[in-house]
């Protein structure tokens, strides 16, 4: 395995999300993840990419790659946009809060599904999520 393998997708519309979802399923399967982890990863990809579609005007960028962290192989997801940003990050990371009449589980749920999860956001500048799931 190598850290060279990297996929980048620009996400604007709903079908971009399902393309990314499909590629994430394939990638995790090909790199030997177990069924439950494959499903988890693809779910997080779907949640984060849906945010690009439903919370920004211009969409954003999703990348995925194999990455070695503290002695383990895993998949790192990066989702980045130059959208409106998140005003209250603590609120956005709490369960049941949504600005678009959603369930409000996308971000907090994604954090629980991944082994490492980092989010930073600046109102008016954009949002970046970096998350990692070990194999």
């Amino acid at each position: 395995m190598t850290e060279e393998t990297k996929f980048a997708f620009s996400i604007h519309q709903e079908y971009d999300v399902y393309h990314a979802q499909q590629r994430a399923l394939d990638f995790a399967r090909d790199t030997g993840f177990r069924r439950a982890e494959i499903y988890r990863l693809a779910t997080v990809v779907t949640e984060l990419c849906n945010n690009l579609v439903f919370h920004t005007q211009r969409g954003g960028l999703f990348t995925m790659r194999l990455q070695h962290r503290s002695g383990r192989w895993g998949i790192e997801l990066t989702v980045e946009d130059d959208g409106p940003g998140i005003l209250d990050l603590d609120l956005a990371m709490s369960d049941g809060f949504s600005t678009v009449h959603g369930l409000g589980s996308g971000l907090p749920g994604s954090r629980r599904l991944m082994d490492e999860f980092h989010i930073e956001s600046k109102p008016g500048v954009g949002t970046k999520v970096i998350a990692w799931l070990r194999q």
């Binding site: 439950a36 499903y39 988890r40």
Partner: protein, 250 residues
């Protein structure tokens, strides 16, 4: 390239007719001029037809550009006495052909968009069949992704089937939905709520063990939805709900 086919020949003749007509009446040699309306329409039609036949836009553009190579020797012979006139005529006609070539790309793109839209519509129709599997029981197998548009379609089709068959139970099978994320879950809860207003109970079947684990981690509350692991168990539940059961013939 081989010798032009009969259709190509007919196209060329029709093209030349319209081109000459346009050039005779146009105020300026620009393709937007009203005199070229016939030519523009004809090119759009040809490019569209070729797109549907599977030609690349470059092939259609090459067809248009080939007129350039054809008319240069003719114009040179015609205006052999006046090289300046010859140059300007070649430029005028060349510009028209160039603009036409661009037009074919636009027409190609439009025709392809239409094909894609139609395919999408066709898939949408195919993707949400509702089946009456018992008296007062309808079933809808969901296959593939559930985006906003399909979610609306599922809602409409299911409610229509419930009211048409006076169903008391509707089974939604999600075995073939690749990922149940929070949006899909939200769509499901909405369908359940709407069906209840029509007096039908929805049973969702086919969550995989991986989906169940993930949904719990996401902390999505599906406790208000009746779920069963398999379609078989869902059907048994539907019959039980109606006070029926399947037994052996004795």
């Amino acid at each position: 390239m081989g010798s032009p086919s009969e259709t190509d020949h007919l196209h060329m003749v029709a093209f030349l007719d319209r081109l000459t007509l346009g050039l005779q009446h146009a105020a300026a040699p620009v393709i937007e001029d009203a005199a070229f309306a016939g030519l523009r329409g004809f090119m759009a039609e040809i490019a569209g037809a070729r797109a549907r036949d599977g030609f690349y836009p470059s092939a259609t553009a090459a067809f248009v550009m080939s007129f350039k190579t054809a008319f240069i020797p003719i114009l040179s012979a015609e205006y052999s006495g006046s090289p300046e006139r010859c140059q300007s005529e070649i430029k005028t006609l060349g510009d028209i052909v160039d603009q036409l070539a661009f037009l074919t790309f636009d027409a190609y793109a439009t025709a392809r968009e239409q094909v894609i839209t139609r395919q999408n519509q066709a898939m949408l129709v195919l993707s949400t069949p509702t089946l009456r599997i018992w008296n007062q029981v309808v079933m809808m197998p969901l296959v593939g992704i559930i985006d906003t548009r399909r979610a609306q379609d599922i809602m409409e089709q299911l409610l229509m089937a419930i009211s048409r068959d006076e169903a008391k139970v509707a089974i939604l099978d999600v075995t073939a939905v690749p990922i149940i994320d929070t949006r899909v879950a939200l769509h499901l809860t909405k369908v359940v709520a709407a069906a209840r207003l029509l007096g039908a109970e929805v049973i969702v079947t086919g969550f995989s063990p991986e989906a169940a684990q993930t949904l719990v981690k996401l902390d999505i509350d599906l406790s208000r939805i009746r779920t069963r692991g398999t379609l078989r168990a869902g059907l048994a539940e539907a019959l039980r709900f109606l006070g029926l059961r399947v037994g052996a013939i004795t």
